[in-house]
Subunit: 954 residues, 2 copies
């Protein structure tokens, strides 16, 4: 066999000065949208802002398209096409009425089916502020299980559509995450950088809410980054009064049963007085737990307003009859409003607000109801979403590098848009979160697969353009279970390796083959180290390979950086040493399962489910106290293969020349013959003195310190000793003491905790027998025709042992390598001799602190580029400093004609971004700091900063 | 005590010639409503008429106002205000769309809340035929349990509103009874006389339907009277294909789960081809069981179109995509249509149609599911509805006779409109039918009571004007249980008796008193026969009266017309003789109960319920084989009081000078301690040789012959020997042979049958423990706070024994006396000496064949008058002849300025009434016969004819 590598390290560079691009369409008349379109309020009264809204899940019990069309109403009555039809009709009936719309994935579907006159009508409504977009991303993303890269992408996709369709009036002023189950600090930071003036949400810990109600701190200032200079990541945050529902007795949707306002005195049951009295009482009561003489009421809920007339007809009456009381001295003023109009009044109040610097995880809505299960739910989908992001970034980059031929070339028509939309949909808070029904999870996966199919054509076209070869390229998506028909059958083939990172990486390539001896050469024809290994027993079971030779048990493996020891009696890991730094820690690792509560106990009827994690005992069961082990030693790689049970195994893998240890785990099908739901964890027990602290990342970026049985914001009463100590891990977690930091880099989002001193556990897989009564009405069992026995999941964690001051220098690039993996493509037989075997899009590797976050075609002659400083302030001695990049010197093949900086979501010029300023209770109003820039091409990045550019290219 | 009688026998008479009154408002532009507004069809294709419609029950699970407002959606999701809002909106979006509306009780409520611009919009839609009224009565009346008088009134009320609001375009062309549970011939006759071109319904016996499908006779010509000359009572009748629902898979209401048309090829689940194929298959299959190349599909159902967009958006697409197939040779043409447009195409087909002369009772939708229980369900409500009609007719007459002072006079403001509307609502097929929930039944009764309160003021004002006395008048509505506080306490009072019939009647007045000796005088001061009787034991239990003296058992009672014998051993009736005609029959009467099926048997799971009658055995249980009896003999009245059990008793009562025997039964609370539902009957067993025949009236008018286990229209397979032989009795039933006819006149609608030779049974009361699964979701248990033990019901049947040729001469006037009873009002103490004590509205009694059906104020200077020939053709030797009345000689106090004849429902001039002509399969097309008339004032009535006049008066 002869494998050749085509190295594409990264990307390009340009010429002249900044060029203004128009953002969105020009509109004929001067619009009065935004804050100017708000209704007047009464300074000496209690103003009640009624916000008509619908919450439209981009998939949950039904698929996104089923929701759009109103198909499968037997599962759930919901049809977004009708919601938008109806709301537009009703807005036209009364200019006072307002509506907000949130999910662009749905709005986009609807818009493209409208006539031009309807489009004109809707534009008019938007320009008059009667229809207002809030949030405006493609979906309302999950906050616990999403990676910042994909969140930024999905927000950009949605906001771009709004911008291009509606211009300035289409830009949302407010972020609106009314449903996600806990709130990530990194999300708040991103929203601030996207130019939002404020943020509203509905769910927070019930204890946190109680305390905030008592202190009137349900509206606060969230300082969402320890690295970015305030107010860059400051975000005004409001907690809504009833989740996102209307107050009791005032739901007038077709899905509700509350009494309508019956104001015809000639009919039975006239109830205007009763309605007014109940409403005024509720309004006054609500005003007691908020700070100003303005309160907000969310008049809507899931998929409401399909028949908006019901809502508006009654709201019109409510406003009329309550305000009529003012003539007799009533002090309540009700108005149609929007979150931004409400926010404007809070801003005008010129008050000071509690400052918050931690996050809102975990979320519990009752003492035994911790929403920490979904951090891990559907681990296979979570991994597929993550690898799809890697593929999408590669696709985006190659679309830029390959030029127009990428989209239409020798392999047909390809695009990145399909995968962009599929990835955007997958960020929804019932998508990658794992809290959807099984058939919907299948739909998300199918969309990603379809998107990747379209990208494969684009990638093939692009690589053909860059290499000069139109030989067919094969993609092997199942290499994780050692399946690749081409490599298994071929005598001679070439491998193309595309690296989407902005610096060279060393990447071990593992391919399934059927021969016993292969010759591998690089692009220059030089031999490459390789080794033929037997597949592991867990892979065999998956894929019916022949049995491997049985090697003897090891006591240790090591390379020049790491030494790993095993307990000879149990076969378990026993220690890890960094040979460079001369650190050593005791390290025992094993697999356990918590017995999921079935809801049948005295404390609470809450079972574990897709959302909720609730073990019925704090002590997990050990799957096996010892492992059957085999070891394979070699120059390229050393493996110790551990079998714990027929459904739990692991390969401990150490590559030559690598500073991290890989643990590849395989779990499943989780047995349920004993009628017990199981939540499987891997646990690392060390002698690191953690003092109840451990650390987790937020959406793959900044780290947050966690402490056992503790919340920074309030005095916690801990009622779930395990579930209440779980936090989302998106890319990494670590434990440390003064000497040692053990960082675990994960390949997907997972939940984890540090329950014992020196211990870190990560939940890998869950199989549950009961629904957890949060609406999904399915146990998280994950059986299907393909997996009748239950799902087998495989994944990897990387362990890095470093002294704390040097740990980030290792885990930051390591985590990015896991997020953006090289893409392999294969060509059968001999390559044409004219084939170009190496290409780099970049003139040179970017500095170690700089991550190429986004490179994607924006339109015909412009690109979107995001550069990111990937280190936190103070995290690294060498890398936590500002770093400057010259854009013109970046790319090897692209001619840059102009550059303009934008906000993070690319829907506003950076220099036009003016946000509301807010004063924290604890200090001065922070003012935005302007940094001088030498030239438009010289881009300085400070720790954790992301800068977004629109580049005009030729 | 001195009681004085104010006799008002009947009503007035007039002057000059006919005067045309405008009907409805003049409209600005020439309307294109009606048949001209129908869409074009394709002669060489199968035309599918899609009829968007909603079926809005005027009360059922919720009250009429709850339905209107959409209140109590927890019981049933339904809000008519929103339906009309939404339909109008959607009609405006596409001029091709059509909608029909049916129930004016709802439309009227909605209309009065609309702005003038909305009213103008709706008028435009009506004038363009886009919104079309069908049926158009206040409600869609029940056909089994309604009296023709109230049906005509409720139709008049609804149609008048449409006429006055929309003019010619508001006149429905089609009668539309899609939901009533069986169809009465008299209803068809009335519809014909109201000018309808055709009639559509949804429910008929499943065996009947099968046969008609096979013979393509689901569309037919119904000859609905044996007396009226064809085509006067000929009505084209169509049976709808799916009840009134859309075909399977094509329900796009918000209440349905069928897949919407997903026609965006870029989204998942594109299904246009599938939808088109399914629809074409259904259309072709449906066309196989109908006669022409036109078929109708009812696209709607109960309370649908609350969000009409869902329906219309998908129907638009359906029409577009199915008709698009025509370009490729498709032969199906789909169009928006209405029942009248469909009817027009059937008429154009110029075919001949099966002739039907019987009716559609009883209705069974499966072998053990006979809808014959509701004939009796809620007997107390059924009686209250009937007496309310009597009160309303009195109120109407006195409004005319008393003049404007009636509505505003010494007792305040009164009106007849409230009771008119309450009575109209009560005709609904889930109102007087007894098939509503308990709280809704209570609401109907409350409305009738409210209406009667308003009428009492009017009646008091009118009587004050006519008598010259403003002394307070008291009304005793509980005389049936011997409650009247005034007469029970007063030493001296006067009684005013108003007789709403057009001829003098003798009417025994029974009043509760506490003294033992009273003097009664008439208007002239002459003594009136009277007798103080103890109240019966059943009345005592109801009202806590002291016990009566116990008289001994009788063996017979008699007056100069009748002799009634009793079995001395059992106390039961044993014989009845007409002493005038020297007829004698054996006559045993007793009370029995059928054990209601609980649905727990091998044949069927159908239980008895509000709709369904299903005894679990054909043999009823005898309540008691013997009765404890008491008798009271006197000059005025003789009574034998029979006690069968603590919950069943009877008074056999014979008044001096009366030719009928009264049986006053008291049944209840029906015991259910044995957990058995009970359906209580009274049964008359005679030696009349009935040969399996018996006779029942249709809506209180023409008689129909019934035969055991037989249907005139098809070969019956009888699967329920009792329930399948039950028929509705509205006012009377009889059995006869050559010599003897025993007629039973009832005081309310009831079910009954003749199961054995010589036997006639009538169901009196039902108490059931299970719901019968037709939607009401309540057992017919009739308990409430007032009647925690269950309902006690009292009623009366009158027996008349005559030779058959003379029977009608007795039962026709007798039944009218039961329907229109004298109204008693009371004045405490001495009357002012100037009080006028007698008044008659009529110059003289009308001829015996003529019934004054309607006399009511129409507007300020006009009245509505209906005169009726109350005998069938050939029924009576003396009375079944044409009879002429001179209107100018009728009334005593009214000056008639003009007269114009109208159709039966008073929404069209009689001479403008041109209906579609239809040819029966069995003969020539009948042509309407014109009878010459001597003058406009000379009105000739032929058997069973009702003539309707608008009179201009001064």
């Amino acid at each position: 066999m002869a494998a050749r590598c085509l190295h594409l390290a990264a990307l390009l560079s340009f010429f002249s000065g900044a060029v203004p691009f128009p953002l969105g369409p020009e509109t004929g008349k001067s619009p009065t949208c935004g804050y100017e379109s708000c209704h007047a309020t009464q300074p000496d009264m209690l103003n009640v802002h009624l916000v008509p809204h619908t919450h439209d899940d981009v998939g949950w019990l039904k698929t996104v398209d089923q929701y759009f069309y109103g198909d499968r109403n037997d599962i759930q009555h919901a049809g977004v096409q009708y919601i938008l039809d109806s709301v537009v009709d009703q807005l036209l009936k009364n200019p006072d009425r307002r509506f907000i719309y949130v999910e662009t994935a749905f709005f986009y579907r609807w818009w493209r089916q409208q006539s031009s006159s309807m489009k004109q009508t809707v534009k008019q409504l938007v320009e008059e502020g009667r229809l207002e977009f809030v949030n405006g991303g493609w979906c309302m993303s999950d906050e616990a299980t999403t990676h910042y890269s994909s969140v930024i992408d999905q927000m950009t996709l949605g906001l771009r559509f709004l911008n291009e369709t509606f211009g300035l009036c289409g830009r949302p002023r407010v972020a609106w995450h009314i449903d996600p189950f806990g709130h990530a600090r990194e999300h708040a930071s991103m929203f601030a950088q996207m130019g939002y003036d404020g943020f509203f949400f509905g769910r927070l810990d019930y204890q946190d809410r109680s305390e905030r109600m008592a202190t009137k701190d349900q509206e606060l200032l969230w300082r969402a980054s320890e690295s970015l200079t305030p107010p860059m990541a400051d975000l005004f945050t409001g907690i809504l009064p009833n989740g996102y529902n209307p107050p009791d007795g005032f739901c007038w949707d077709q899905s509700c049963d509350d009494p309508p306002i019956r104001d015809d005195p000639e009919l039975e049951d006239y109830n205007v007085d009763d309605v007014v009295n109940r409403f005024v009482a509720i309004a006054k009561s609500q005003s007691m737990v908020y700070k100003t003489n303005h309160i907000i009421m969310t008049m809507g809920s899931d998929f409401q307003y399909e028949n908006a007339n019901l809502w508006y007809k009654n709201l019109d009456k409510l406003i009329r009859y309550v305000n009529a009381e003012q003539a007799g001295g009533g002090k309540v003023n009700v108005l149609y409003s929007t979150p931004s109009c409400y926010l404007q009044e809070l801003h005008r109040a010129n008050s000071t607000w509690a400052l918050k610097t931690d996050d809102f995880f975990p979320y519990a809505d009752a003492a035994h109801d911790f929403w920490t299960g979904y951090f891990t739910s559907r681990p296979a989908l979570k991994r597929y979403e993550r690898i799809s992001n890697s593929n999408l970034q590669t696709c985006n980059q190659l679309e830029v590098l390959g030029g127009p031929d990428s989209r239409k070339g020798p392999f047909g028509e390809g695009d990145s848009q399909t995968l962009k939309e599929a990835m955007a949909v997958a960020q929804h808070h019932d998508a990658v979160s794992g809290t959807e029904k099984q058939h919907v999870a299948n739909d998300y996966a199918r969309r990603l697969a379809n998107g990747w199919q379209r990208c494969q054509v684009l990638v093939s076209n692009s690589l053909a353009a860059l290499s000069g070869s139109t030989a067919e390229r094969i993609y092997c998506d199942n290499l994780n279970i050692s399946v690749c028909p081409l490599t298994e059958a071929s005598k001679k083939f070439s491998v193309n390796v595309y690296n989407p990172l902005a610096r060279p990486v060393s990447h071990p390539v593992r391919l399934p083959v059927n021969g016993s001896s292969y010759e591998v050469t690089d692009a220059n024809g030089k031999p490459v180290d390789c080794r033929v290994l037997p597949v592991s027993s867990s892979t065999k079971e998956t894929d019916l390979h022949p049995p491997p030779p049985p090697p003897g048990p090891p006591t240790s493996i090591q390379n020049k950086f790491l030494r790993v020891t095993f307990d000879p009696d149990t076969g378990l890991l026993s220690g890890l040493s960094n040979l460079e730094t001369k650190q050593s820690v005791k390290l025992t690792q094993n697999f356990y399962w918590y017995n999921a509560s079935d809801g049948n106990d005295a404390l609470s009827i809450q079972p574990s489910g897709a959302y909720i994690f609730r073990p019925n005992s704090s002590t997990p069961f050990t799957i096996s106290r010892s492992a059957k082990t085999e070891s394979i030693q070699g120059v390229v790689v050393q493996e110790v293969r551990q079998v714990f049970s027929p459904w739990a195994s692991q390969v401990v893998r150490l590559y030559a020349g690598r500073r991290e240890l890989e643990l590849e785990w395989t779990v499943g099908p989780v047995p349920i013959g004993d009628a017990l739901g199981k939540e499987v964890i891997t646990r690392f027990d060390t002698d690191i003195r953690t003092s109840e602290y451990f650390y987790t990342d937020s959406n793959g970026r900044e780290m947050l310190r966690r402490r056992k049985d503790f919340r920074p914001s309030w005095t916690l009463w801990q009622s779930e000793p395990i579930a209440g100590n779980y936090y989302p891990i998106n890319s990494r977690a670590f434990i440390k003491d003064e000497e040692d930091q053990l960082t675990v880099v994960t390949d997907r989002s997972q939940g984890g905790g540090s329950i014992h001193n020196g211990s870190l556990e990560i939940m890998l897989h869950r199989r549950l027998l009961y629904d957890d009564v949060r609406g999904v009405v399915e146990p998280l069992n994950e059986t299907s025709d393909i997996f009748p026995e239950g799902l087998v999941v495989r994944g990897g964690v990387l362990l890095s042992l470093q002294p704390p001051p040097r740990a980030a220098d290792a885990h930051r690039p390591l985590a990015q390598q896991v997020v953006l993996q090289p893409l392999l493509s294969f060509t059968e037989g001999e390559l044409h001799p004219d084939t170009r075997l190496e290409f780099s899009g970049l003139q040179a590797a970017l500095p170690p602190a700089v991550h190429l976050l986004t490179l994607t075609q924006w339109d015909e002659d412009s690109l979107l580029l995001r550069l990111e400083h990937q280190f936190q302030k103070g995290e690294s001695k060498v890398n936590s400093e500002p770093v400057t990049v010259n854009l013109q010197k970046m790319f090897s093949t692209l001619k840059l004609l102009g550059v303009s900086e934008m906000n993070l979501s690319a829907n506003q010029w950076k220099d036009k971004m003016k946000r509301f300023d807010w004063t924290p209770q604890t200090g001065e109003k922070p003012l935005l700091k302007e940094f001088p820039q030498r030239s438009v091409w010289e881009v300085t990045l400070r720790p954790m900063e992301i800068r977004t550019f629109l580049l005009r290219v030729r």
